[in-house]
């Protein structure tokens, strides 16, 4: 059979652009002398390249979904929308890293290059349509992440974070590969569609092997999105890594992980089968655990970054909750959630990063009385905290509401109540920041240089969608609604 490997390569332009960008950045980086401080061309090139990628993805959207490279990559609106979110997140993080003091000046260029690399991994994951692509995506994402986590070379915590990340990552990748090898061994195919076709008609023996294999397979993805019980690495890594890196980790790998989980669930488990029941049960338990453990642990944290790390675990849990009801309603809800999650996370981390740069740490008390010094920033942070809690009329509420309503629609009342009660728990620690910012007097009157006019403007602009999506969410919902997943 003759296969045309390059058919429809046009749909692959965003990824190709990213690869060119990464190589280009490495070349530009090589022209700088070792001690040269201002490496602005790297940033300019990176942002131009990322914006070009963004535009390329936009052109890709709305077209007919297509599987390319002999069905190992699939380009559909679902993956494109998530890629847009990841690119936006990367652009914001690249800008943040430019003025952050948490990364050594000389290593900032490396950071940008690696971020683009991780983004390529994220794209691969979002589009993966066979086991091998999926594994490649996870590894591309992970290996660069390990380096990124230990970017503060002289800092003990950062090195610890990197090592921890690498160890955990290595083990879980191994476990996942082990599971995948069994799936391949039993079914004889690594194509998602091939696997999906066989799942409803398995013999008992096959099922006995495949059930645990899928659990092992899940371990790999669960590790990437820090689902409980694979979350142990996450707070340490989040706290130890430089703040821009943490911001990046909270967005790109997490969304890529959610994307692949949704795809796997919807491709493999649409037809009724005992496997489906088992998988849904697994997702149900893991998602309930993830949101609860993330929230409860976040309460006791003293560092804002660590608190945000735990809270992002619980948000991953909430996004996972939508997996228990397979179908358009759940996907639509999770896409909307991902969009709002992007903006909320960005604003929260931007402000934390700037405050941390000033004081050298991100203890809660550093936020005391922020409203008396930078009222706009305190208001934006308050908005984000209320939005993360899920108070209307902010976007976070609509996002949670959509997940909740799709859960209730599928009659998962218990999970819906658990989700709701988790919001109450999360309100406690989100309010803690609000309380400090608004109800306490400031510790010092020194100016925080990071809150210059431009940065304040950027933060305000990033907060705007949280308002707008909270009141006028119909357009984005319809947009998410048509971003259907393509199952070949």
């Amino acid at each position: 059979m003759h296969l045309n490997y390059l058919a429809n390569i046009g749909r692959y332009i965003p990824e190709i652009l990213l690869v060119i960008l990464m190589v280009g950045l490495i070349l530009i980086e090589a022209t700088y002398k070792e001690d040269e401080k201002d490496r602005r061309y790297i940033f300019i090139t990176a942002i131009i390249g990322l914006v070009a990628t963004f535009v390329a993805i936009l052109f890709n959207m709305g077209g007919k979904p297509q599987a390319i490279f002999t069905n190992s990559i699939v380009i559909d609106d679902f993956s494109s929308l998530l890629k847009l979110i990841m690119v936006l997140g990367t652009i914001a993080v690249v800008y943040l890293s430019r003025f952050s003091k948490d990364i050594y000046e000389t290593l900032k260029t490396e950071f940008v290059i690696m971020a683009v690399g991780i983004l390529i991994g994220g794209f691969l994951l979002a589009s993966a349509n066979n086991m091998l692509t999926l594994y490649l995506g996870i590894e591309t994402l992970s290996i660069l992440s390990y380096v990124m986590a230990s970017l503060k070379k002289n800092d003990e915590r950062s090195s610890e974070a990197g090592l921890k990340y690498a160890l955990y990552g290595g083990v879980s990748a191994g476990i996942m590969l082990f599971g995948l090898s069994h799936i391949f061994g039993v079914l004889g195919t690594i194509q998602f569609t091939g696997v999906a076709a066989m799942i409803p008609n398995l013999t008992t023996v096959q099922m006995a092997i495949l059930m645990p294999s899928f659990v092992l397979f899940f371990a790999g993805i669960g590790y990437k999105i820090a689902a409980v019980p694979f979350h142990m690495w996450s707070p340490d890594v989040y706290e130890g890594s430089p703040t821009p890196v943490t911001t990046f980790f909270a967005i790109v790998p997490k969304i890529a992980g959610i994307a692949v989980l949704i795809r796997v669930t919807s491709v493999f488990f649409t037809v009724e089968s005992p496997m489906k029941v088992g998988w849904i049960g697994l997702m149900l338990v893991v998602s309930a655990l993830t949101m609860t453990v993330g929230n409860v642990t976040a309460i006791g944290q003293k560092s804002v970054k660590r608190m945000l790390a735990y809270s992002s675990i619980s948000h991953a849990g909430i996004m996972m909750a939508s997996l228990v009801m397979i179908g358009d309603v759940g996907i639509r809800a999770v896409l909307f959630y991902a969009i709002t999650y992007l903006f909320m996370t960005l604003v929260a981390f931007y402000i934390t990063s700037i405050v941390q740069d000033k004081y050298g740490n991100d203890h809660f008390d550093r936020f005391s009385g922020l409203i008396y010094r930078y009222p706009w920033m305190a208001v934006m942070m308050t908005v984000v905290m209320f939005s993360l809690t899920g108070i209307p009329p902010l976007a976070g509420f609509v996002a949670k509401y959509n997940i909740l309503s799709s859960l209730i629609n599928s009659k998962f009342y218990t999970l819906a109540v658990i989700l709701g009660l988790n919001s109450v728990v999360s309100a406690y620690y989100y309010l803690k920041i609000v309380r400090l910012m608004v109800l306490k007097q400031p510790e010092s009157e020194e100016a925080i240089e990071g809150f210059g006019f431009l940065n304040q403007m950027i933060i305000v602009v990033m907060t705007l969608p949280i308002f707008v999506l909270g009141i006028f969410w119909e357009t984005i919902m319809s947009f998410a609604n048509v971003s259907k997943l393509f199952i070949n």
Partner: protein
């Protein structure tokens, strides 16, 4: 002004006020205060216009004022407003109390004046939203948004322990709302996501009696399950025992005006929720649980009164008396008779005015004494002999206290009498026991009065000035309200009669 947009005007007028306050410079405090005052006066006038145009014969929503505009059409969410005989008294109460609160805050609030008035007006808009909303989603949005201004109003301008109180208030209410939200969404899907699936009126009438849901493999009645969810959501707001523990903290720590709003209007949102949502939508379950509700109401009455008696902080005493008085409202609701429900709605209004008076008076006293102890922690008397030193203050205080106690001739009496008439037809034992609540109520109020106003004159008290003209000015409307509605309650009873009758006859069919 077109009559049909009147509700929107009332709802958005305070938001206009917020906008105006935000645009004013921070140091022009008199401008800000005057603007807020003008704004609330206009709003109050608008509620009076609404009252005048109110058609008392119409049982359901006043068709002249209904508003329904699609908001998120894809999910059948509407901007749907309406007013009937149950929400009308609450609307007037809200308009009145916020206006008086602006006056009361005029001199009492000293820090961050701009933010304070902006938040207060925002709160007013949200309260109107709750009383007007006929779309479940809209209702929930207003119900929740209200937490934000309340959190800051208690947290920033409150007493020493304000942060704890603010957080506790927020978490408690949020917990209740979440359960309510689950119920709202369940109703939405139970009615097949149709155009009317968020329409509170269309959902009413007991349509879910036959439906079951499966929880952990057990079939549970849909109606009973979600009635309990909604009940908890509203009960926290009322507050019904055992969900009342946030209230003493929030009341004591909040600044005067916010205590007034909290006791006068916000607690009523809970009972309003029963009347508008929980009862009409799940009449069968309301009937099923009515004995339990009545007992909870009784516990509120007795337990609240006993707690009040034990207090040495006068503000806490009044806070617990609110628990006790809201218990009477719950009793009236549980009776589900014409007299009972009429009494309950009237009590919601009357308690709003009388408790507001008490909290205002305590705030005025606090301005002079800077403490609120009837008996100080070291055992000495906090006040004493106020009666001889502050005659005007004492007279107004007596009016408020007796109205609160339910003395015949003042407003509290009529509503409590109606409630007893109503509840006696259903629960004889509870009626008898609840009467003891009245007795304890008289006891703790009179005992408080004796310790504060009679006896030897405390040297500190000699330095207090009597009420200023401003303070008298904002107490007079409330004095008039408690006296006039004590002898002539028909202006309120007449507007609620048709709507209450409709609700009661609906309940009677189950």
């Amino acid at each position: 002004m077109a009559g049909s947009n009147l509700l929107s005007w009332i709802l958005w007028m305070p938001m206009l006020g917020v906008l105006g306050v935000l645009l004013m410079p921070k140091d022009k405090t008199t401008w800000i205060k005057s603007w807020a005052l003008i704004n609330t006066v206009i709003t109050f006038a608008l509620t009076l216009v609404l009252y005048c145009k109110f058609d008392q014969t119409q049982a359901g929503m006043q068709s002249a004022f209904n508003v329904a505009i699609p908001w998120i059409a894809q999910f059948n969410i509407f901007y749907r407003l309406g007013v009937d005989g149950i929400s009308m008294p609450m609307t007037i109460l809200t308009g009145l109390l916020f206006m008086l609160c602006i006056l009361s805050s005029w001199t009492q609030i000293k820090k961050s004046i701009k933010a304070y008035f902006a938040l207060l007006l925002l709160l007013q808009s949200c309260v109107f939203g709750v009383f007007f909303a006929l779309d479940f989603f809209l209702f929930y949005v207003y119900w929740e948004v209200m937490l934000i201004p309340m959190f800051f109003l208690i947290g920033v301008w409150g007493g020493e322990n304000r942060e704890y109180a603010a957080v506790k208030f927020f978490l408690y209410t949020f917990f209740g709302s979440i359960l309510m939200l689950v119920g709202i969404v369940a109703l939405y899907f139970a009615t097949n996501q149709s155009v009317d699936s968020f329409n509170i009126l269309a959902l009413s009438g007991g349509k879910f009696t036959q439906l079951n849901v499966t929880i952990f493999g057990q079939a549970v009645s849909f109606s009973k399950l979600f009635f309990v969810f909604m009940f908890i959501g509203f009960a926290i707001k009322v507050p019904v025992f055992p969900f009342h523990t946030w209230l003493p903290h929030a009341h004591v720590q909040a600044p005067t005006a916010i205590s007034v709003i909290l006791a006068g209007v916000l607690l009523k949102m809970g009972t309003y929720g029963f009347l508008r949502i929980a009862f009409p939508i799940f009449p069968d379950s309301a009937k099923y649980f009515s004995t339990a509700i009545a007992w909870l109401g009784l516990i509120n009455v007795i337990y609240g009164a006993l707690c009040a008696m034990a207090q040495t902080d006068v503000k806490k005493l009044i806070a617990y008396s609110s628990v006790s008085h809201m218990g009477f409202v719950m009793l009236g609701l549980a009776a589900m008779t014409v007299e009972g429900v009429n009494g309950a709605v009237l009590q919601m209004f009357n308690h709003g005015t009388s408790t507001a008076m008490m909290f205002f008076m305590i705030g005025i006293l606090y301005e002079r004494s800077h403490h609120r102890w009837i008996v100080k922690p070291d055992g000495s008397r906090g006040y004493g002999g106020l009666y001889t030193q502050l005659p005007v203050y004492s007279i107004i205080f007596i009016i408020g206290m007796f109205a609160s106690m339910g003395l015949p001739g003042l407003s509290g009496f009529i509503s409590e009498a109606l409630i007893f008439l109503g509840i006696y037809q259903k629960f004889t034992t509870i009626t008898v026991l609840a009467l003891f609540g009245l007795l304890i109520g008289a006891a703790y109020l009179l005992w408080m009065f004796k310790r504060m106003f009679f006896g030897d004159v405390n040297p500190e008290v000699k330095e207090y000035n009597d009420m200023t003209k401003l303070e008298v000015a904002y107490m007079i409307p409330l004095c008039i309200a408690v006296i006039v509605f004590g002898v002539w309650p028909s202006p309120i009873l007449n507007i609620m009669k048709a709507s209450v009758g409709q609700l009661v006859s609906l309940m009677a069919t189950f």
